[in-house]
Amino acid sequence: MKPIWILARLTFHEAIRRRIVLVGLILGLLFLTVFSLGFGLVTAEVARDSVLRPEVLGRVMEKEMASFLLNAGLYAVAFLSVAMAALLGADSLAGEISSGAIQTVLTRPIRRADVVLGKWFGYAALLGLYLLLMAGGLLVSAYLQSGYLPPNLLNAFLLLFLEALLVMTLSLACSSAMPALATGGTVFGLYGLAFIGGWIEQIGSVFNNQTAVQVGVITSLLFPTEAIWRRAAFEMQTPLATILQMSPFTTRSVPSPLMVAYAVFYLLLALTIGIRIFQKRDI
């Protein structure tokens, strides 16, 4: 077996053994329960209301409400996966460097790049599974209760995965040079900046304020997480919501496919820089 896969498996194994996965699953289950309960209550309310209205309008209302709730739920899932990605990445290299546990690994006949890439693949598999379970749970719950499924599910899922990978990669790259806490601070700081920038862009576009939109674009370039989320939300949006643009989870200023390409480029660049730094640094 190649070193990179030995290390990826070790990384995956570590997350399970150190109960990171367990905590994630318990919180995730709790979250899914709350979501299902809320979803059930709201859709029932909407259904009761629509008895008074013409049937067609009622069905539209139900569908819009399901879409809105589902997007809100997925936004929370995206945030949970981002938090997990940041924490996993932050401790990875920095933690093993400061404890010295990495010394015996690096004195084996393997490349340092294998260590970084092994961790990357291990965490990527973990985040993929986590997202699949959480997003899948939301969708199944919403479908069973309302019969609603949003469009473009595969695209949306891949975009959510890309968002989590972006955060994990930046975190991993930073932790090749900085201690875990500084890494966590940097990554969450950038994520927060992108978040605020994204909202400024949204609100700016409502009032046709170009400067505000540009602020959003610039923060997206600094860290494209929020832009990727908005692209995912746009993919899952109902046609009516696109026309009406009335809820906080409908997207007015839609990031282009170019922004998605930029995010992929950003990820690869961060990974490459992280590997370079790790190859050069004294352990």
Binding site: E14, A101, T107, P109
Partner: protein
């Protein structure tokens, strides 16, 4: 000509404005147990890390088993026990060895056999399924030692392998080092526990500010050289000069005289010479220098600060 196990030339490492290793030049032969001695902060660990490719040298060069440092395939023939025995503590002892075996390219029954063998060798077989986080320092040192031996290495670095360990643990290290020597491996032992070094090593180098200030063959330490103290009256300068036939480092202070001789065989001759030259000898006694005395003498009482 046999290739040296380790050969360094003016190896140097500077961190910021501080030179951790000034310029290390030394040669370690295959099959040799080599002690690397020096006070705290003398650059011993940094030197080892440079040899193993963990730290990049600022200047100078070195070879390991004939290959330049940083040559990856060579590391398959090298073992390393780091200073603080910190490992992936969520792995069990058996998993930890298996993981390192895999990184070395071992697999299948051969790997399983080797892991079992080593767990027994270091006395951890009953604890093979226990996570390393539950291990005591002594147990971590044992599993670390097992990890360093997985590949039947031709060269093993042990960085402070016995610091803070109980006598049983030290005994294990000593036995393992002896076995490695019997197998023809070279052991590079970094320590400041001089009594350990004295028992296990063939040759030592004294390091100060990352420079070799002296190398010493320990075989000669135990059989030969002795410091001779003499108390005698009538010691003339001509008489003292004549002592150079038998010894060196001759120092006289009134009736007190000390010199270092190659072996005890010189003592009767020195006595005859002194009497023949008209001195009155009251006392003449040899004493061996312990490694500790040589250490203090070489490094200085300030500990090289």
């Amino acid at each position: 000509m046999t290739t040296a196990a380790i050969e360094t030339h003016e190896l140097r490492k500077v961190f910021g404005r501080h030179a951790a290793v000034e310029g290390l030049t030394l040669q370690v032969l295959p099959g040799e147990v080599f002690g690397f001695l020096g006070p705290n902060g003398a650059g011993k660990t940094t030197s080892i890390k440079m040899l193993l490719g963990l730290v990049a040298p600022t200047a100078g060069g070195a070879t390991l088993l004939g290959a330049p440092i940083g040559h990856r395939p060579t590391l398959a023939r090298v073992g390393f026990l780091p200073e603080h025995f910190r490992f992936q503590d969520w792995l069990t002892a058996a998993e930890f060895l298996k993981f390192h075996g895999q990184l070395l390219g071992l697999a299948g029954p051969a790997l399983a056999r080797r892991c079992k063998e080593l767990l027994e060798r270091v006395g951890l077989a009953p604890f093979h399924g226990q996570q390393l986080r539950t291990f005591s320092k002594g147990m971590l040192q044992r599993i670390g030692l097992a990890q360093a031996l997985l590949n039947h290495p031709a060269l093993v670095f042990l960085d402070e392998p016995t610091s803070g360990l109980d006598p049983v643990g030290r005994r294990l290290v000593r036995d393992v080092v002896r076995e490695l020597r019997e197998e023809g491996a070279c052991v590079f032992l970094n320590s400041h526990l001089l009594s350990e070094i004295e028992i296990t090593c063939d040759r030592v180098a004294f390091i100060r500010h990352g420079e070799v200030v002296r190398t010493l063959d320990l075989a000669t330490l135990n059989q030969g050289q002795a410091l001779v103290s003499i108390r005698a009256a009538g010691l003339t300068p001509e008489l003292l000069a004549g002592l150079a036939n038998w010894g060196w480092d001759i120092q006289a202070n009134g009736e007190e005289l000390t010199l270092t001789v190659e072996s005890d065989a010189a003592l009767p001759e020195i006595n005859r010479y002194l009497v023949a030259q008209g001195a009155q000898v009251f006392a003449l006694s040899p004493s061996r220098l312990s490694l500790e005395e040589i250490f203090i003498e070489t490094i200085g009482k300030d500990g090289g600060l």
